[in-house]
Amino acid sequence: MDQPTPLGDREPRTPRPARRGRGRGAPSAVQTLLAFGVLIAMVVVFSIASPNFLQFDNIVGILLATAVNGVLALGVTFVIIAGGIDLSIGTVMSLSAVMTGVVITNWQLPIPLGIVAGLATGAVAGMVNGFVIARLKLPPFIATLGMLKVANGLALITSGLRPIYFTDTPSFNEIAMGSIVAKLIPSLEIPNLVLFLFGAALIAGFALNRTILGRYTFALGSNEEATRLSGVPVVAWKIAVYAVCGLFAGLAGVLIAARLDSAQPSLGFGYELEAIAAAVIGGTSLSGGEGTILGTVIGAFLISILTNGLRILSVSQEWQIVVTGVIVVVAVYLDIVRRRTQEQA
């Protein structure tokens, strides 16, 4: 698995080729494999260190902890591959959760309408991001930072500054915390929330690798100018990419609301960074043009296994934060090393 680092003279770097393939080639695969290796190593280490780690309940706990961040990370993977960034996903998630709450609890409309409202809120927020970035030419960092604030404020306003509870509609909570799996195999109580993560990952994988949307996502991130010159309506596709990211944030919002049985309006800060970290750890390049869905899913699991394992081992919280930070830096460093090796080869 280790790639020997060439020790010879540094050759002048050649500019990166305009097209980098579609993320299925060797480069991302190495990082994904590496992330997977680290993930397995962690599981082994934590299992040896504590008998409580590899217990069914704890594994379910890890799966649950990954679900929301995983869904957010799936969406942001698209944006990062397309050469952008979305800092608003965390608070857009909360705004979507609140909209779902408004429709289901405040207006007492059917649950499916609430879910649609949540998803639509996310998609619209994403489209606004896309419009501001692609049409008004604002840097993605600034545009989505603005949306982060706007969504947070709107969530507080529409919720009337307090959590909206779904206690009158118990079946909403069932969407996330019920278990279809347990109905088929009674002893296997895996909450539906987990299935949503894998379902969303499959859809995202399909969209990224088998559709025109995916092809243009990679093209935009590899070389936007070349893409535009070859006649692709860049503005429209960019908006679409951000809308997809927003849609996933909307889904995350519906899921977190269902899981917590409440829409928490002030939630959401910091979630964007965790999702971006998951994508980057999984091999998505922050300079665009590269990334895989599988990598992002592995990245998300890596973060939550690490967090859970350190908690199970009762590592003090201050150190937990330090370790998580180090892991992110190491992951990005490995990415840079890999890239350098590749360019020299």
């Binding site: 290796g37 902890a65 917590l260 049985d261 002030s266 919280q317």
Partner: protein, 312 residues
Amino acid sequence: MKTRTLFPLAAVLAMLVASHAWAETYIPVISKGFQHQFWQAVKLGAEKAAKELKVRITFEGPENESQVDKQLEMLQAALAKKPQAICFAALDSKAAIPLLKKASAAKIPVVGFDSGVDSDIPVATAATDNVAAAGFAADKMAELIGDAGEVAVVVHDQTSRTGIDRRDGFVNRIKAKHPKITVVAVQYGGGDHLKSTDLAKAMLQSHPNLKGMFGANEGSAIGVVNAVKELKKQGKVVVIGYDAGKQQKDAVRSGLMAGAISQDPVGIGYKCVEAAAKAIKGETVPKTIDTGFKWYDKTNIDAADMKPLLYD
């Protein structure tokens, strides 16, 4: 490359195994935060009780008080460790109920602290009566400004239980008992010192006749103090704070702050662990443990009975 990544992990692990004392009674304490001085004082009390009662505790909480889901993950991980009891201060008590049910099914007694949990599951809850405490602050404010005029409130949070209770406790007491006083503004600064400062400054500027300001937690109170100082309104505005901390204590000593309400965070931490230890042994514990509050100002800040409550 993999061995290199594993190295620090192995080191961390070795440290852990070494620090893991085996077998005694284990009680995880899950709070609402861990960085603020208030929670550190709760931790201090919890550790004191752990030492005296010979139990092992861990203390953790999310980075800020909106991270309901992160707190649930902590609670879940704590349950996975199969503890003998759990101390828990819920950020959102309804969201925590499924996990608490799991705890009660596994016969793990739960003791609530700080704001507790809206449910029958906790065997006891150790908390301050925030409504009563903020109401007392309102009475003090009335006394200090001559029972008439404009006052304003800076609160840390619109959605949390303590934020709501302290705001309502103060505002409702003013309305009920002090009709000549009007609360002209209530604003929220997230408990963030800097944000609360800016906010309080804006309030002082838009309401030049303000006679008093109440900061509903440490960060809010410091914000009010900073604002009064920066606008040179010392002596013109009566400032009342909440909780302690070095800056707030200094402000009380210098007279910038008229006084403040102090909870007993060390007592909260101590009493929740103590109740948990009792519950493990099967002893009965009272359902609600009022940990009390006290008013402190220049005159009693260094008194022997106040000192232990006022953390730095």
